[in-house]
């Protein structure tokens, strides 16, 4: 069974701080997605990484896929209150299209 371990599960920081969320597995994934979900809404796709070692940037967010395609990280620089939400990593593998989700990281950014 493929599993994605996401850490930390909860993070409360002040506006302006940096943070990193990790997503680790012993399995190889064909691709890995990061989603952000605000309370009462559905997850919104932030990025997809597919190549080992790939780094993608989305404004203050930097996403990295591990060389072996077993892990990923999300780094946020100078967090803002609008970054508050549940961050989910999800890996795709096999031929079904189904995603394996991490447990999620609840981020609270305080003003």
């Amino acid at each position: 069974t493929q599993l994605l371990e996401q850490s930390p599960q909860f993070l409360s920081i002040q506006e302006g701080e940096n943070l990193t969320v990790y997503c680790n597995s012993s399995s190889v994934f064909s691709s890995l997605q990061w989603y952000r979900q605000e309370p009462g809404e559905g997850p919104v796709l932030l990025v997809t990484v597919v190549t080992g070692g790939e780094v993608k940037k989305l404004k203050r967010l930097t996403f990295q896929f591990g060389d072996a395609r077993k892990d990923s990280s999300l780094h946020i620089t100078a967090a803002q209150t609008g970054d508050t939400g549940l961050y989910l990593c999800a890996g795709g593998s096999g031929n079904t299209g189904k995603l394996i989700f991490g447990q999620g990281t609840t981020l609270q950014v305080k003003p």
Partner: protein, 115 residues
């Protein structure tokens, strides 16, 4: 804008009273998914349709059924809701895997309350 729409956004039902949640999409994606999500947890896949082919997860209770009458619409039926079925229900779509389809696009969800 192409999107995934869920109705209603909030649904209150009574214990044991059947309820249907609906999802529609304008993305023309082959695959549609239903997830159950409880607070601050990851979504849990209930089942998915690949075109008209229905795929049930092994641990999805029989109480949950689904219908997909055409490409655009998909329904989630809960035959006899229990208190433990109170959750956010999310619909998602994706393209065929051959078209690069691990990316899933979610609707805003339906928050189900069971009284």
């Amino acid at each position: 804008d192409a999107m995934v729409i869920q109705n209603p956004r909030y649904q209150v039902t009574q214990f044991g009273k059947p309820v249907t949640l609906s999802c529609s999409q304008t993305l023309n994606h082959n695959v549609m998914y239903w997830y159950q999500q409880k607070s601050s947890q990851a979504p849990k896949l209930l089942f998915h349709y690949y075109d008209k082919d229905f795929n049930n997860e092994a641990d999805t209770p029989d109480n949950f059924q689904s219908r997909r009458p055409n490409t655009s619409f998909c329904f989630l039926d809960i035959r006899s809701p229990g208190l433990g079925d109170a959750a956010m229900y999310l619909c998602a779509t994706s393209r065929d895997l051959l078209q690069g389809g691990y990316e899933q696009y979610f609707g805003p969800g339906t928050r189900l309350t069971v009284t």
